[in-house]
């Protein structure tokens, strides 16, 4: 019989504090490819699993710059180049009147970039993921906290990793089939 390949080992914890401790110890033990799941954002958990580079602010800034620049240039080009109209003797490029739309476009693009950038970096939408195969994982959106060591980790070894995770005193350990 062919055995299903294992995607990772999933340990379940009762409290946020326990999960952060366990994640820290797992990272310090040399595991690199790990992830933690919680029903709400937990302070310090991202650092505990070794996540540092958050690109969302940069993407948002780029979006804001694109929105603001294109918003102003659009109004300038339309009002001064493509369709110049004399409105009460005002200059064609009446920049104070163009500030409002420039501002709105800055906000609109920055907001869209922030959200779409966040989803793209997170790889969402992703309706299927191997962790959903573990029935207990449904509790991750209620009141349970999970830590996974992926089988792709260089240090992963079915028996040894399981023993290590057991040392963290989780509530349960499940194999995640891929």
């Amino acid at each position: 019989m062919k055995r299903t390949p294992i995607y990772g080992l999933l340990a379940e914890f009762d409290t946020a504090t326990h999960l952060v401790e366990a994640s820290n110890r797992t990272r310090e033990a040399g595991y690199k490819k790990i992830d933690a799941y919680s029903p709400f954002p937990v302070e310090g958990l991202a650092e505990a699993i070794g996540f540092h580079h958050d690109l969302v602010p940069l993407i948002t800034l780029i979006g804001g710059i694109i929105g603001g620049t294109s918003g102003y240039l659009m109004q300038w080009w339309i009002s001064a180049v493509s369709y110049p109209t004399n409105i009460g003797g005002k200059p064609y490029n009446s920049w104070p009147a163009f500030i409002v739309i420039t501002f709105e476009m800055t906000i609109l693009f920055a907001a869209l970039f922030a959200v779409l950038g966040m989803l793209a970096l997170n790889g969402l939408p992703m309706p299927y993921h191997p962790v959903f195969n573990v029935p207990r994982f449904a509790m991750a959106t209620k009141d349970r906290f999970f830590l996974i060591v992926f089988s792709s980790d260089a240090k992963y070894e079915a028996a040894a990793t399981r023993k290590f995770l057991e040392g963290l005193q989780p509530r349960s350990i499940s194999e995640v089939p891929s």
Binding site: A16, P39, F40, F51, I101, E104, A114, M118
Partner: protein, 456 residues
């Protein structure tokens, strides 16, 4: 047990009643959505709101058939109910963004239990608001002429006009409010996906949840994006009613052409918005038994915001009257005396009563904490804010520079049908929202519990 949620003030109600755990919060909020069968009260309420929405469709259908002549608008009062309602509805929306964005940045954790439905309220109110300029257009099927797009007429919008600014401000506001609300919903939709036992419901919530699994990396980026959105929505919400006020302030009509308009419109918007939040929160917490989550503290804080913004609005009225006299401009001065003694004076005094005099009762603590009193005061404030827009628009237009161009405005039954119709549409949307989506942010409520904090 110490209560870290109450940093100051003795005797204040807590943000969340003691005795709750992650599981009870999740169960209580998600069970409202997942419980079957739907209650009779919901069917009656939704059915009633739906009938009024049908009346709206009928009135709008007739409007498209006959044109805006079925309304009471004439020259000089070409901006009748449609623009009054537009300004009123969009103002109501502002409280939702204030609660979700500004109070988030200010770390006011009490907002966590009211931000979700306040944001929904914003969306539906802006949807109602957005209808009016379109219906008022005369040829609403050509609405896309407002947007700058290359066309065979070789024509472009005129960007020096505040009316074009409004198109951008309102559409940006709606879009940003929508994504802010949806992104806030994603983790809760995942909770519903995992807790629903109905196949179809599981699938729909699953698709909407985008496969959210609560990974720490995801949460980190999520929180960053959410915070940035709040930071972006904060200047946005202040700008929207400012731009709406430019529609008036940049014109030269006496009573419109003043620099106090932007701040006092924004304050008025938040004032009416919080009144609507209270009008919705008070029955909802009672009917769904959510007194544990929407406590007296929330009611009292909202009442305080109402009192504060109400005073700014009162200051605005004062400055308008003062500047009318101080400017030495006879037209401005006449506008003030026309409000006080003219043909619409009854409504101006009603406005002062509803918006300034009666809300002073909120200085009394009992008035801020007893839901029944608060509900009545909120109704009065909403009426007053509607009257404010009526006075600004109709009274100013009815008597401007030349007596030969004076006139009166008489709303027709179609004006009322469209206005009341949008109230029904708003309520119908709220009923649907309460039934199919979690009305309180489950994951943000979890973070309010002491257990959510990581102990070193």
């Amino acid at each position: 047990m110490e209560e870290p949620l109450q940093p100051s003030g003795e005797g204040r109600a807590p943000v969340i009643e003691p005795g709750h755990t992650f599981a009870t919060i999740t169960d209580k909020i998600s069970s409202i959505v997942l419980t079957r069968p739907t209650s009779d009260g919901w069917y009656i309420g939704f059915g009633f709101a739906f009938l009024i929405t049908m009346m709206l469709l009928y009135a709008v259908g007739y409007l498209f058939l006959k044109g805006v002549g079925i309304w009471g608008i004439t020259i000089p009062i070409a901006w009748g109910f449609a623009i009054v309602n537009f300004v009123w509805w969009i103002g109501i929306g502002h409280a939702g963004t204030l609660i979700s964005a500004i109070l988030l940045l200010l770390r006011q954790s009490w907002r966590n239990s009211i931000n979700r439905f306040a944001e929904a309220m914003t969306l539906f109110a802006v949807a109602c608001a957005g209808m009016f300029p379109l219906l008022h257009m005369g040829r609403p099927w050509l609405f896309y002429w407002m947007f700058p797009y290359p066309n065979t007429m070789h024509y472009w919008p005129q960007f020096r006009s505040p009316l074009v600014w409004d198109v951008f401000a309102v559409s940006t506001y709606f879009t940003v409010s929508l994504i802010f609300w949806f992104i806030g919903l994603v983790p809760d939709l995942a909770t519903l996906r995992d807790r629903s036992d109905h196949r179809v419901a599981k699938m729909i919530y699953g698709m909407l949840a985008l496969g959210w699994r609560g990974s720490a990396r995801h949460w980190h980026r999520y929180e960053t994006a959410y915070l940035l959105l709040a930071g972006l929505a904060t200047p946005l919400v202040l700008s929207v009613h400012t731009v709406v006020s430019f529609d008036f302030a940049i014109a030269i009509v006496p009573g419109w052409h003043t620099t106090i308009f932007p701040p006092y419109f924004v304050a008025g918007a938040i004032y009416s918005g919080f009144a609507m939040v209270l009008m919705l929160a008070i029955p909802i917490r009672k009917i769904y038994g959510l007194e544990d989550f929407i406590t007296e503290r929330h009611l009292e804080n909202s009442a305080k915001v109402m009192l504060a913004t109400g005073l700014i609005v009162a200051y605005g009225y004062g400055i308008e009257a003062f500047m009318g006299w101080y400017s030495g401009n006879r037209y401005d001065l006449y506008t003030i005396s026309n409000r006080l003694h003219g043909p619409y004076h009854f409504w101006y005094w009603m406005l002062l009563t509803c918006n300034i005099f009666i809300p002073q009762l909120l200085w009394i603590r009992k008035m801020r904490t007893k839901p029944a009193y608060l509900f009545i005061i909120s109704t009065i404030v909403l009426t007053g804010m509607w009257l404010e827009r009526f006075i600004i628009i109709v009274v100013s237009l009815s008597r401007d520079f030349l007596t030969s161009s004076w006139g009166m405005y008489y709303p027709t039954r179609w004006d009322w049908a469209v206005f009341i119709g949008t109230l029904g549409f708003f309520l119908a949307c709220m009923f649907l929202f309460l039934r199919i989506l979690p009305m309180i942010s489950i994951f943000e409520m979890r973070t309010l519990l002491p257990e959510a904090e990581v102990k070193e």
